[in-house]
Structure formats: C-alpha cells, structure tokens
Symmetry: C2
Subunit: 161 residues, 2 copies
C-alpha cells in the first residue's frame, strides 16, 4: 500500500519535472528577441508569459507553506496586471535567472516531501474546510500548476520559427 502511495507521488512530481524541463528547454532555445515577441497577434508576449510563470511558481512557496516568495514584486506586474499595463518589467536576462532560481529551489523542496507531507493542506484552505475536502492539499496544487504550465507552454511554442 505504502508503495502505491509513493509511486503515485512520484508520477505527479515526474509530470511537473517533465513539463518544467520542456519549458526550460524552450526558453533556452529562444533568443531574447524571440521572447519579446507576441505569441500570436495581439496576445501575450513571451516576456509576459515567462514572468507570469515565474510569479505563479514563486507563489507556491507560500501556498505550500515552505517559505517566502523570492521575487514578490512580480505578482503585481505578471499576475495582477496584463501584459500591456505599462508597468516596468525586469529584463529578459533577469527573468531567465529568476526562472532558474525559483524552479531550482522548488525542485529541491519537492524532493524532500514525504507522502503525508504532500497530502497536507495548502495554506489557502482552512482546517475546517480541509476536513471536508481533503483533496485541497499540496499535491493537488502541484497537479494544477503542472497543467497551468502546459497550457502556457503550448502558447510559448508559437515563438519558435
């Protein structure tokens, strides 16, 4: 039984790592100029989606209760406001660094959770609600963010020639 639990955790974490590897590979293949482009006419630029993914992943530290955000200022620019907000964005060079730093730290943490820790509640649900809805746990957040990354990866792929 315990083996089945660990196997399922591994599968979910592997799916995260797989999408992360694909997305990182794409960013590494794209030039700064390509990342600055719109993914499609009138749609989000690669810059915005890169910043958006960093900000969403960075928010996992607080949501999973494992630490503080590394780059809290990104939320205003890349989550609360749209691409053409006029707010100043970090350079692509800086964003590339943030991407690696946030995701590296995250992967380190993910490798250390036990099964029970993965199934503990995330910080956006109350103890009371969690008793009734035990699926509102850390692992579920990871599943959701993996799909979120895949969704935007599909769009970022359009930056390639």
């Amino acid at each position: 039984m315990n083996n089945q639990n660990e196997l399922m955790i591994k599968m979910v974490v592997d799916a995260w790592n797989g999408q992360l590897a694909r997305t990182t590979k794409l960013f590494n293949e794209l030039t700064d100029k390509q990342i600055e482009n719109e993914t499609a006419p009138g749609r989000n630029t690669g810059t915005y989606l890169l910043g958006h993914l960093i900000a969403v992943h960075d928010a996992l530290f607080t949501l999973l209760g494992t630490g503080q955000k590394m780059y809290p200022s990104l939320e205003e620019v890349f989550i609360k406001n749209p691409d053409k907000s006029g707010l100043e964005k970090p350079s692509i060079k800086e964003l590339r660094n943030y991407w690696n730093e946030v995701n590296d730290e995250m992967q380190k943490q993910f490798g250390q959770f036990t099964v029970d820790e993965w199934l503990q509640k995330h910080t956006a649900v109350s103890e009371e609600d969690f008793l009734k809805e035990p699926h509102r746990n850390r692992l579920n957040v990871l599943i959701s963010r993996t799909n979120h990354m895949a969704y935007h990866l599909g769009q970022l792929a359009y930056l390639k020639k």
Copy 2:
C-alpha cells in the same frame, strides 16, 4: 492508507475532468467558422487540434486496454499527418459529435476503475519492463494526456476574439 490511495486517484481523475470541461466549454463557445481558423498565423487550425485531441483520446481505449477505438480513421489524418496534408477531414459538426462520444465513454470507464486497476500496466509496455518501471501504468497515461490537452487548450484559446 487506502484512503490516501483513493484520494490521489480522485485528484488525478478530477484534473482530467477539469481540463476536459474547460476544453469542451471552449469548443461549445466557438462557431464552426472560428474553429476553422488557424490558432496563430501558419499554425494548426482549430479543426486540426479538435481532430487531434479526439484521435489521441480515442487511442486511450486501446492503450488502457478497455476497448477498441471508436474512430480509428482519425489517426491517419490527425496524428500521423500534419494539418495541411491534403487528407480529407470530417466536418466540424461530425468532429463535435465524435468529441462528445469519445470523451463521454472515457469518463464512464474512468469512474469504474479501482485503485489497483489504475495502477495496472498500460498495453504499450511489456510485463518484463513493467516490473522494473511500475510507473508505466494507466494513471500515468492519464496524467500525461491531461497535460497534453492543457497544452493544446492554451493554443485553442487563441481562436476566441
């Protein structure tokens, strides 16, 4: 322990159902004309991505070992060949019907698997390899196909005004 197993299966199946509901909602909101458009200049049309997702989901019946494909001819047009292959495609009306039929049947089957059945090997791995790589099971296929759907959903979203 058994509770934790069932909880994790529920989370993975819920993630599939969630992405499926979002994708179905999008197709229902789009007119046939909109679906015919390219998702971005020079990229796959909505028609192709709709057919592609149906064909990939339809292939799950054989991959999970629960039945035969409902529309085997789609593989040639929507998986083995690209959008502008010149091969004749079904009408959008037909594709909309196939989408519902394939996914409805699939959801029915998914609701009936036990934990052990979800963790059984899929049909593309040998008994021998499965002993060494127990993650190559049905649930892992579902995780992978959920991310695949999210990836293309991100692109299909560009069909909306």
